[in-house]
């Protein structure tokens, strides 16, 4: 399981990286943490002519708290940094919780948010979180930068709209209403594995009614997605067993889960509904100050 030969470019700036990508005419791959790319190389599922290493672009490794209450995150930020960032914990605790489910220590030390988003695994936590949190992704290319909504970034399993000479540089998370409640539930057969499914919910309790509801799921479609019908089922009334059931039903209705070795579509549909229910309960408990009761 040795990778095929490639040439190696160690980029030290975004411009250098983009230029190197362009120079290879689609035959180059960006390597950041390499935690998804290198296994594919080792299995010889990919044979790029060149790897453009962006680990030397230090200015892409940052977590900045923005004045509006959001965050700007550099694409080279390691999973471990996100997991332990006080700003993440304070402003986006749902993201902090999701990071607890990402792989293992050695992978988190190396893996990056930009790499995870660009790899676009349907069962990875970070694509789901940027979808849930309505992130804006900044992409650099030969012609300059462009901004994309997270929802427009993913284009099917393991596929994004990134051009071959583009590099994801920054992830901007707009602020969440504070205080808010959140919930995150995931199921994998083995700790740290890619999930069979996961659900995340963020909401506020405004005068006893759910508001600002965001609900996203993953592992049950080619890309993670927010489920508008489920969000609608919750908005404007207190969260109850009935609204939770309605939201879960809406999720099960909306998703089109894949079949694979570890779970059928039917099972995944069942599973994601159950995870959604748990995530809503947790979010509502937190939003209404009853977090002690949250699972």
């Amino acid at each position: 399981m040795k990778p095929p030969p490639f040439t190696y470019v160690a980029a030290t700036s975004v411009a250098e990286a983009v230029a190197a990508l362009a120079a290879h005419d689609g035959e180059a791959k960006v390597i950041a943490g390499g935690q998804s790319l290198v296994p594919m190389l080792n299995f010889r599922l990919l044979a790029p002519a060149a790897l453009v290493d962006i680990n030397g672009i230090r200015e892409l490794d940052f977590v900045d708290a923005t004045a509006d209450g959001g965050l700007r995150i550099g694409a080279l930020t390691r999973h471990y940094t996100l997991l332990t960032s006080p700003d993440v914990a304070e402003r986006f605790p749902v993201l902090g919780e999701a990071m607890r489910h990402v792989a293992h220590l050695a992978i988190r030390n190396r893996g990056t948010i930009g790499g995870s988003l660009s790899h676009a695994d349907p069962a990875a936590e970070l694509p789901m979180m940027v979808t849930l949190l309505d992130a804006t992704l900044t992409v650099a290319g030969p012609g300059g930068e462009r901004q994309l909504a997270a929802a427009d970034f993913f284009d099917g399993a393991l596929t994004t709209v990134l051009a071959e000479d583009e590099l994801l540089t920054t992830i901007t998370l707009p602020p969440l209403p504070q205080p808010h409640g959140w919930g995150f539930h995931e199921f994998a057969q083995r700790a740290g594995d890619f999930a069979l499914a996961a659900a995340a919910v963020v909401l506020t309790a405004d005068d006893g009614a759910a508001a600002n509801v965001r609900l996203a799921v993953m592992g049950v479609d080619e890309n993670p997605s927010r489920i508008a019908a489920a969000e609608a089922a919750l908005v404007g009334q207190p969260v109850s067993d009935d609204t939770i059931a309605a939201a879960a039903a809406a999720v099960r209705e909306a998703v089109d889960p894949p079949e694979d070795l570890h779970g059928s579509a039917t099972y995944r549909r069942h599973l994601v509904g159950g995870l959604v229910e748990r995530a809503i309960r947790d979010a509502w408990a937190r939003a209404t100050g009853n977090a002690g009761g949250a699972a």
Binding site: M1, K2, P4, P5, F43, R44, F187, Q189, R190, A191, G192, D193, F194, L196, L261, H262, G263, S264, T266, Y267, H270, L271, G274, L275, E277, R278
Partner: protein
């Protein structure tokens, strides 16, 4: 035992003063090197001018090979040679494991596929290059034209012989064997309850973290082949490689250096070992092959693939009356060497009656060739399947009869006064703690209280279940019983050679080989205790065929029993001779002296010598001893040990599980196991064997499954999809040892290495069945299966 010297000191007080070494928690001798990266595994071996081997493997399950074009591969810079099957004609005589078992048909083990491929992952072309990287590059450039042949992946279909995998065998049914005892039909006609049905254990692979590896060097001048191999059985490999290449045993040396786990999968001769040797001979340069994980998942022998139909008949009080079984084992593409395709499917019906009184038994088993990776040995061999099926049957019968499952077992276990007990399949259980281990485990978990607690948890809506199982196994098997039925080699004996050299150092050589279980420590403990020295005074050597005339290796829970037995008799003989020599030097009667901690002394006096002084006098000081002493009283002994029959070992396991009704994930809340391995040499090592086995059993029960599609393609060719348990999935375990005496095999040691994995799948299955009030018929028990089975 008539082969034990009668040299036990008469003075019992002395015995009691002696530090107990057997049974002590001695820290392992192996650890300092293994903890510091200074051990040497096969992949660590580097020889001058060494070349690297990679394979092009079949991507087809069953196909003819019409043409192989290697020209592009040969053109890759750094490639030294590319070989196909024809290149080894005349050089390699493919071995063929024969068996005297009824209805057996043999298959060869080929170095490379010849004219036809029979499973995905079969080696077709070998590439030797300056580096593994280059060899893999070149392997990609080989063009193979295949014509697909029909694939019958299901062994239940393959028995019809509509498509033959091996034309010369004339059938896909490589073994067809029946066992019977008593009047089974009568038993079933008298039964108050009959339970049973179809059970299934799907394919697993042992997956040691060190995959297989081989380094071969050919000394042209001396015509001597040295093969370092990550194998459990260097002796078997030496004997076979000699035949394969027409070399005498003195010209083949097989070394198993530090081995990174085996669990059975490294007990066979593999094609890659033959190819590494053949290439090294052809090229006159050392050749190294290290299996990568993908190769391991398609090319290393797999296990556990059986379909079992079984029924149990009990009377109104739950007493077992009879058992019927029909097993179809999926043997994969080849009958493995040396154990044959009979190995696992026959073990299933051999062990199915379990530790229970079984008045009537009828069973049939078939080993069926299919175009998949061969089925080989994996820890427990057949017994995990047998125990899963039998223990499900016992629980089903208990439920049908309205009896508590533990009480059901107590009623049916062979009782102490009934030993030795011949089971329905003909195995004999010698005196062993069936009841004692069940008592120990139910006491440990507090069975009655736990049942009450379980009721409360269930009333609160939690899906919690408790499973308790019992099993018996046979380890340390002597020459009377074949490890695999009718196979061609003697596995019933091991030999120790212990000597004190001119410096006074003690070296103990063994024909067996450790693959990580700590034999250098446990055998040193046996030698130290029996000889009268300290553990650190003994150098244990093993895993090298140049040490001994004959030996096989570690498998079938045999090394502690057989090598431990050989160490015992050999050390006693050396001790007797040391005392005889020392008595002459010290001019006292032999009966007046003792040796403890390498110190030879006359009790009650200050007269003593060190072993070093005795050795120096014996070897170097001419004239101090009569010449007859050196000629007739060697400070060395080579003795073999053959326990003749096997020794029974047994255990009871209990698992408390909770199932999440949303995810259908299973969490093991509590786990306990009590086993009887007889006299324990090192409690840490014994414990470790159990814990490791149970962890593998957790994987077997809940996670691990090699999956092929109907075209014979493997869908689980990575550790992402073949899911091994991590520290999170493996529970805390309460492991207990019941050391029942075994006076019949000389040492009191019983085999232990396999037990954990035998009981755990059954215990977890019974617990899940209890939690959800469902029947469990198949392992692994995945969330998907539970979801479907609970009516979704």
């Amino acid at each position: 035992m008539d082969n034990l010297p009668e040299d036990l000191p008469a003075d019992l007080n002395l015995m009691e003063m002696r530090p107990k070494i057997i049974g002590a928690r001695v820290q392992r001798v192996e650890d300092p090197r293994l903890l510091t990266g200074t051990g040497q595994y096969t992949a660590d071996i580097k020889l001058p001018n060494m070349a690297h081997l990679a394979f092009r493997r079949s991507e087809m399950a069953h196909a003819t090979i019409d043409n192989i074009d290697v020209s592009a591969a040969l053109a890759v810079p750094g490639v030294i040679a590319v070989y196909t099957a024809e290149d080894f004609y005349g050089q390699i005589t493919p071995p063929r494991a024969e068996s005297k078992t009824e209805g057996f048909h043999s298959t060869p083990i080929l170095p490379l596929a010849d004219g036809k491929v029979r499973h995905v992952g079969e080696v077709v072309v070998a590439v030797v290059a300056e580096s593994r990287y280059i060899a893999e590059d070149a392997a990609e450039h080989i063009e193979i034209d295949f014509t697909p042949l029909p694939v019958i992946a299901d062994p239940r279909e393959a028995v019809k012989n509509e498509v033959l995998l091996h034309d010369d065998a004339g059938t896909n049914v490589l073994v067809d064997r029946t066992f019977g005892r008593g009047e089974v039909d009568d038993a079933f006609s008298q039964a108050a309850h009959i339970v049973g049905g179809d059970f299934r254990t799907t394919r697993k692979t042992a997956s040691p973290i060190e995959a297989r590896a081989a380094v071969c060097e050919w000394d042209r001048g001396r015509r001597t082949l040295t093969l370092w191999s990550a194998t459990q059985v260097p002796g078997v490999i030496r004997d076979t490689i000699g035949d394969v290449f027409g070399l005498s045993g003195s010209h083949v040396r097989v070394i198993a250096p530090d081995v990174g786990g085996g669990f059975g999968c490294k007990t066979c001769l593999y094609p890659e070992e033959m190819v590494a040797c053949a290439a090294a001979i052809k090229l006159g340069q050392p050749v190294k092959w290290v299996s990568d994980r993908m190769e391991d998942l398609v090319g290393t022998n797999q296990a556990f693939d059986e379909y079992v139909h079984a029924e149990l008949a009990v009377d109104a009080e739950g007493h077992i009356l009879g058992l019927r079984a029909d097993v179809v084992g999926d043997s994969g593409a080849y009958s493995i060497y040396p154990w044959t395709a009979a190995l696992e499917p026959v073990q299933v019906i051999s062990f199915l009656p379990g530790p229970y009184r079984m008045p009537a038994y009828a069973a049939r088993t078939r080993a069926v060739a299919t175009p998949k990776t061969p089925l080989g040995a994996y820890r427990g061999i057949g017994r995990p399947t047998a125990t899963f099926v039998m223990e499900r049957l016992v629980d089903l019968a208990a439920r049908a009869a309205g009896i508590d499952p533990v009480e059901m077992r107590r009623r049916n276990l062979v009782q102490p006064h009934e030993f030795p007990y011949r089971t329905g399949s003909g195995l004999v259980w010698d005196r062993v703690g069936f009841i004692e281990s069940l008592d120990a485990v139910t006491d440990s978990i507090g069975y009655d209280d736990l049942r009450a607690e379980q009721l409360k948890m269930r009333e609160a809506g939690r899906k919690v279940g408790l499973g308790v199982v019992c099993y018996a196994e046979l380890g340390g098997i002597g020459s009377r019983i074949a490890v695999a039925p009718g196979m061609p080699i003697n596995t019933g004996v091991e030999t120790a050679n212990i000597r004190i050299d001119a410096t006074g150092a003690i070296t103990a050589n063994f024909g067996t080989a450790s693959n990580g279980q700590g034999l250098e420590t446990t055998l040193a403990q046996v030698v130290a205790e029996e000889l009268g020295c300290r553990v650190e005074d003994v150098e244990i050597r093993h895993g090298d065929t140049s040490l001994m005339a004959h030996g096989s290796g570690s498998y079938a829970s045999r090394s502690a029993v057989l090598a431990g037995g050989a160490a015992t008799v050999s050390a006693r003989e050396v001790r007797a001779n040391v005392l005889k020599v020392a008595a002459m030097i010290m001019e006292v009667a032999e009966s007046d002296i003792d040796m403890v901690g390498s110190r030879i002394y006359v009790p009650g006096t200050d007269r003593e010598m060190t072993l070093k002084q005795v050795a120096h006098t014996y070897y170097q000081e001419m004239g101090r001893l009569p010449k007859e002493v050196r000629e007739e009283v060697p400070l060395e002994s080579t003795r073999s040990f053959d326990p003749y029959l096997g020794t029974a070992a047994c255990a009871s396991h209990a698992a408390l599980v909770e199932v999440d009704p949303v995810t259908w994930g299973v969490k093991i809340l509590k786990y306990a196991a009590a086993e009887d391995c007889g006299r324990i040499i090192n409690p840490d090592v014994a414990d470790g064997q159990m814990r490791g086995g149970i962890a593998q059993g957790v994987g077997v029960a809940l996670l691990e499954e090699i999956i092929h599609d109907e075209d014979g393609q493997i869908l689980t060719a990575s550790l992402v999809d073949y899911v091994l348990p991590s520290a999170v999935e493996v529970p805390i375990m309460d492991v207990m040892h019941v050391e029942s005496e075994n006076p019949d095999n000389g040492t009191g040691f019983r085999g232990l290495g396999e037990g954990g994995i035998i009981g755990a799948p059954a215990a977890i299955a019974n617990a899940i069945a209890d939690a959800l009030d469902i029947d469990i018929r198949e392992i692994p028990i995945t969330p998907e299966k539970l979801f479907r089975q609970t009516g979704n």
